[in-house]
């Protein structure tokens, strides 16, 4: 079970905030890029043959002598694409478990508020760079999504490049749950432009933030197997911590530029609860 019942009950009362308008097929409760049938007035336009007579503004016609038709906002469902990074780098220090829980938390919240939730995972099966998971619009789909999230294997090299391009101009929102430890992380974040914004949950372990290492080491990259000789001097450790801080700051800046909220999450016990609290504080969830 990825989410505790108590957390699920809490999530049922919350919804992911959306920055822009959505573009979707089905009606929902989010403002759409299109005009539609809601009660919110949007604009006028000249009457054209075929328009609904009921939308003609007779007051305007009587006062100005022109025939104008009232237009209203459309409300559509939110397409919510959730990408969870299950590459080899996430396998270490328990990050993948936290990542699954975080993805599950966002998915459950989306389902509870009627969004169209779709799951993605990297890497994909075989040589595929990503795997598309099940989708759902109601909480009735939760067991399916949860089962997929729990059963998704971990390991292998991960890349966000392909999926980034695929989700770059989605009409909904995108949530990335990843450590961003891929070479192309900058171009992926820069390339994303979801119409409804989204969220980057940057998952790093405490061992990555404050490496407990000493002596002369050959660091082995868990995904590529590449080695890097490092002497763990005080200066080296200080430099590493500076690099981590810069990494987080830059990721935050690039995320916001792409219209995404950003939160650095320390993996481990209670990561989902801590993240929810951080999101609520930033009013990303309401």
């Amino acid at each position: 079970m990825l989410l505790e019942p108590r957390l699920r009950a809490q999530l049922e009362r919350l919804a992911l905030g959306v920055r822009g308008r959505v573009t979707a097929q089905w009606a929902g409760r989010h403002s759409s890029t299109r005009l539609g049938e809601s009660l919110d007035f949007a604009d006028y336009r000249p009457y054209q043959p075929g328009d609904d007579y009921r939308r003609i503004d007779h007051n305007l016609r009587a006062r100005l002598g022109i025939v104008m038709v009232r237009q209203f906002e459309a409300e559509q469902e939110l397409p919510l694409d959730i990408v969870v990074d299950l590459s080899a780098s996430m396998e270490m220090h328990g990050k993948e478990h936290s990542a699954r829980a975080l993805a599950a938390m966002i998915a459950y919240m989306g389902l509870a508020s009627g969004d169209r939730v779709r799951l993605w995972a990297i890497p994909g099966d075989g040589s595929r760079t990503e795997a598309q998971g099940p989708a759902g619009r109601h909480l009735s789909a939760w067991p399916l999504l949860e089962d997929w999230l729990e059963s998704r294997p971990t390991g292998g090299p991960g890349t966000l490049r392909s999926l980034g391009r695929r989700l770059a101009s989605t009409g909904g929102a995108v949530v990335l749950v990843t450590d961003l430890l891929v070479e192309e992380w900058r171009e992926v974040l820069d390339g994303l432009a979801p119409t409804a914004g989204g969220l980057v949950l940057h998952v790093l372990a405490r061992e990555e933030l404050y490496p407990p290492m000493a002596g002369d080491l050959d660091l082995v990259d868990s995904e590529t197997g590449a080695k890097l000789a490092v002497s763990m001097s005080e200066d080296a450790l200080r430099g590493y911590q500076k690099a981590v801080e810069d990494f987080a700051l830059e990721a935050s800046r690039r995320s916001r530029r792409a219209g995404l909220d950003y939160l650095l999450v320390e993996a481990g016990q209670g990561a989902a609860e801590r993240t929810l609290e951080g999101l609520a504080r930033r009013e990303v969830v309401r």
Partner: protein
């Protein structure tokens, strides 16, 4: 600073390998990380093809070099030599005579000795000799400062006179062939006689604080004409001011009366007080609120004795004074010369000496003595100090009209006027003899308070009569024990402490404390078979608090200030090294300066 093991400083060369270890690169250990992406950005050369790297001075290296330096230093055993009176072997000769109890002298001496004892070590051994009436070795060749201090702390000033000569002989006997021995004398010098020549290899720490003192210098008992007991009390004022003092008399610990005495400065006053005491009673004289510098001599005890009468016959002229003396001396009766136990020959020809005899100016002198003439108008100028016959006897006002001039080598002058002996003690034909060179009626002695006391003491000495009081000896005089076979002796001290004595002990020597000693002989069943008492008094010569500097001289071949104390620093250095090791561990594991900054949301 010097070193006991300077060769150990060579171990400082270990600093070289330590520095080399810091320059060598260790074999790299593989460590898997999620990604090396961020490590590549730290912008520092982290690998090298060569197995060494430039030396970088770190806190760890500095601390480890310091620790190594401290350990090497401690192995070299640095020391400083401090000037001290302690030598390789030092004998503490500590005076415990009565005069040391005056005005805190003993406390100062003990504090000084304890101060020196702190420096006792394997390099500076120490022995402790108690210089009381019976000098004893308390600790010998000890390297344990606590044992030496404990021996010093156990010492107490008594009421006796110090025997410094014997104490110094004991100290010399402790000299070890392989160690130079130094003697440190903690003493006021006292009145005791020492050789004129300086004490070689010794130093004298003089403690001569002085203050006004009143002392009971004489205390004896005599029968009164009413058949009761009278006690004679002599109080001596060693201060310059006249003092009026109340003397309380206790019998068996119960107050029975008191008398007030006024004593002029640097003189003595006597008083005779009748007391309702019987045989076996303990009579105590106390100075009430004396507030003087020496409390030990503010009290004196005696035990009223008794026994079978001895018959004494007077031969020759005789005198009423002699008759009165014999009548008033308890335990003595006047008897027929043929059956008398003792003779008093008052003038006339010298009889055959066949029993203890008191010769008073006979016409001819006994063996060992030559009559060479007569002297006239004499005053007493010498009384043999400390002699029990003169106990409680003040002859300072005695004058003699005419006395024989005597030359002798074998008789002991007890009282003299210049070169002219007045009373001598000797032995003829195996019998004790007292010789008085003057006719008693030609002196004022017979009308003085001292006469009955002197007479009683002389008769006691001669063995011709049992004195009223049990013999009182100076403090420190051993008590002779006559323990029956199968019995053991138990002594109750004046302080109330009880000591068991070994069955074969002939004497009990721990008699420095003035007062009454009760000796009980215990049989096999644990019952007291018999008991007796002995009295020890404060030695009057100690009451004046005499002090002097004892002549000392350095041992041949050394200067007086040659002694030094080796004070090693190693323990402190090792402690500092251990503290630095703890700091090094903390620096190595806590990494000061690398403070974690929280970057998570």
């Amino acid at each position: 600073m010097r070193f006991l093991v300077p060769a150990a400083l060579g171990l400082a060369a270990l600093a070289g390998p330590l520095v080399v270890l810091y320059m060598l690169r260790s074999k790299r250990r593989p460590e898997q990380v999620p990604s090396t992406m961020l490590w590549r950005e730290i912008g520092e050369p982290v690998s090298s093809a060569v197995p060494w790297r430039p030396l970088k001075l770190t806190w760890l290296l500095i601390l480890q070099l310091l620790i190594l330096a401290l350990f090497v230093l401690s192995l070299a055993r640095p020391f400083v030599a401090e000037a001290t009176v302690l030598g390789p072997h030092t004998v503490f000769v500590i005076d415990t005579s009565g005069s040391m109890a005056m005005a805190g002298r003993f406390e100062q001496a003990r504090a000084a000795a304890l101060d020196l004892a702190e420096d006792v070590s394997e390099a500076n051994l120490a022995s402790v000799v108690e210089a009381g009436p019976h000098p004893t070795v308390r600790v010998a060749f000890s390297a344990d400062p606590e044992a030496v201090a404990e021996a010093i702390r156990s010492l107490r000033p008594g009421g006796g006179a110090e025997d410094l000569s014997t104490a110094l002989r004991l100290a010399r006997g402790l000299a070890a062939p392989d160690r130079e021995t130094t003697v440190v004398i903690f003493s006021d010098g006292g009145p005791a006689s020492l050789p004129e020549e300086p004490v070689v290899g010794a130093s004298h720490m003089v403690f001569d604080d002085h203050a006004s003192n009143l002392a009971i210098s004489g205390f004896d008992a005599e029968p009164s004409t009413e058949g009761t007991i009278r006690v004679f009390v002599q109080v001596e004022n060693h201060g310059a001011d006249t003092r009026t003092i109340e003397v309380a008399i206790d019998i068996d610990g119960l107050p029975t009366g008191s008398t007030e005495m006024t004593v002029e400065g640097l003189s003595a006053a006597q008083e005779v007080v009748p007391v309702p005491a019987g045989p076996g009673s303990v009579v105590t004289a106390r100075l009430v609120e004396a507030n003087d510098a020496l409390p030990l001599d503010d009290r004196a005890d005696l035990v009223v004795g008794g026994g079978a009468d001895r018959r004494v016959a007077v031969v020759g002229a005789g005198s009423p004074f002699l008759t009165a003396l014999l009548e008033s001396t308890p335990g003595v009766s006047i008897g027929d010369p043929d059956v008398a136990d003792m003779l008093i020959v008052d003038g006339g020809p010298l009889p055959e000496i066949d029993r203890p005899t008191w010769l008073i100016r006979p016409e001819t002198a006994p063996d060992g003595m030559d009559l060479v003439g007569l002297e006239r108008n004499l005053a007493v100028t010498f009384s043999r100090p400390g002699d029990p016959v003169l106990d409680g006897v003040d002859l300072s006002d005695t004058v003699i009209a005419e006395a024989q001039r005597i030359e002798t080598l074998t008789w002991l002058p007890l009282v003299s006027s210049g070169d002219t002996p007045l009373i001598l003690l000797g032995e003829v034909n195996g019998h004790r003899v007292v010789y008085t060179t003057f006719d008693l009626t030609h002196s004022n002695l017979v009308v003085q308070v001292a006469f009955p006391i002197l007479g009683a003491n002389l008769l006691q000495w001669l063995g011709g009569g049992e004195a009223v009081s049990v013999s009182t000896e100076p403090a420190g005089t051993p008590i002779g024990l006559l323990t029956p076979v199968g019995h053991r002796a138990r002594i109750t001290l004046p302080s109330g402490d009880v000591q068991e004595v070994a069955p074969d002990a002939a004497t009990f020597n721990a008699t420095d404390e003035p007062g009454v000693y009760v000796i009980e002989y215990i049989d096999e069943t644990g019952s007291v078979a018999s008991s007796e008492v002995a009295v020890r008094r404060f030695v009057p010569s100690e009451s004046s608090g005499p002090s002097r500097e004892i002549a000392v001289a350095p041992a041949p071949g050394e200067s007086a200030d040659e002694g030094f104390l080796i004070r090693e620093w190693s323990p402190w250095i090792v402690a500092a090294a251990l503290a630095l090791m703890a700091l090094e561990w903390w620096v190595g594991h806590q990494r000061p300066g690398f403070r974690r900054r929280e970057v998570t949301a």
